[in-house]
Subunit: 140 residues, 2 copies
Amino acid sequence: MTDRTRRDLIAAATALATSVTATGAYAAVPTRKAAFPPIVHHVFFWLKRPDSKEDLDKLLAGLRTLAGIDSVRGIHIGVPAQTEQRGVVDGSYSASELLFFDDVAGQNAYQVHPIHKQFVADCEHLWQRVVVYDVKGVVP
Amino acid sequence: MTDRTRRDLIAAATALATSVTATGAYAAVPTRKAAFPPIVHHVFFWLKRPDSKEDLDKLLAGLRTLAGIDSVRGIHIGVPAQTEQRGVVDGSYSASELLFFDDVAGQNAYQVHPIHKQFVADCEHLWQRVVVYDVKGVVP
C-alpha cells in the first residue's frame, strides 16, 4: 500500500465513523466493504510439526509466491495474533492465507494457476489440515 | 475504495506479477500484504435459523454498523461464495465479518466499543455458533 492509498483508506474510515447516527440506526450506516474486491478466499493451515520454525518459514515463503498470480487482487499472509484468549477464538492454526478476488472466476483461475500448483507441490507435505472459507461480499 | 486507490492496488498487483521469476524462486517474490493493515479479525456466524432470510438480513445489518468504529480500518461483510465444492471448504456458515486493524490495541478497542456492544446485544440471539480467527500479518 502506498502512503497515499493508506491515507485514502483511513480518510474513508474517518468519514464513515462520523456518519454513524447517535441512535445507531442500522440503515443509515454505509460500509467500507467497497474498499475490497468482493470475493474473499481465507485458508488456515495446521502444520504437522507446529513447533517447527523451519516448516512455518517454508510454508510462509510458499504462500508469498501466491501474490504473483494475476487474479489475486490482494493478499494478507499471517500467523495467530496475540489477542485476548476467548472461547470463540481459534488460535490453533499455524498460518493464514487471505486472498481477494474480483469474482469467482478469478478464484477458479487461481486454483489452477501454475504458481498455486507449484506451492501445493512444494508445501503440502508440511500441513496436516487445511480449512477454507470462501466469502462473497454483500452490497449494503 | 476510491477509483484511484483501486487502480493503485491493481497496478501493484500487476507489478508483482511480473516480478515472479521463471524459476518461481520464493525469496525474490514480494507480497502485497502491505496493502492491508496488519491485524485481521475474521468472524464466522452460524444462525439458529439458517434458512431465515429475515434473520440473515438482521445480522448483516448489524454487522454493517461495525464500520462506524474508529479503529476498524477495513471491513468486508459477506455470505458463502458459490465456489467449487471441495472437502476442505467450509461453506456451512451463515455470515462472515472480516475486519482489519492497525494493531492489537485497535482490536481491543473494537471489542469494548459501544457500537460493537450494541451489535452483540441486538443480534446475539440470532446465532448458535461463532468462530473467530485473529491473524497478525507477517512481513516478507
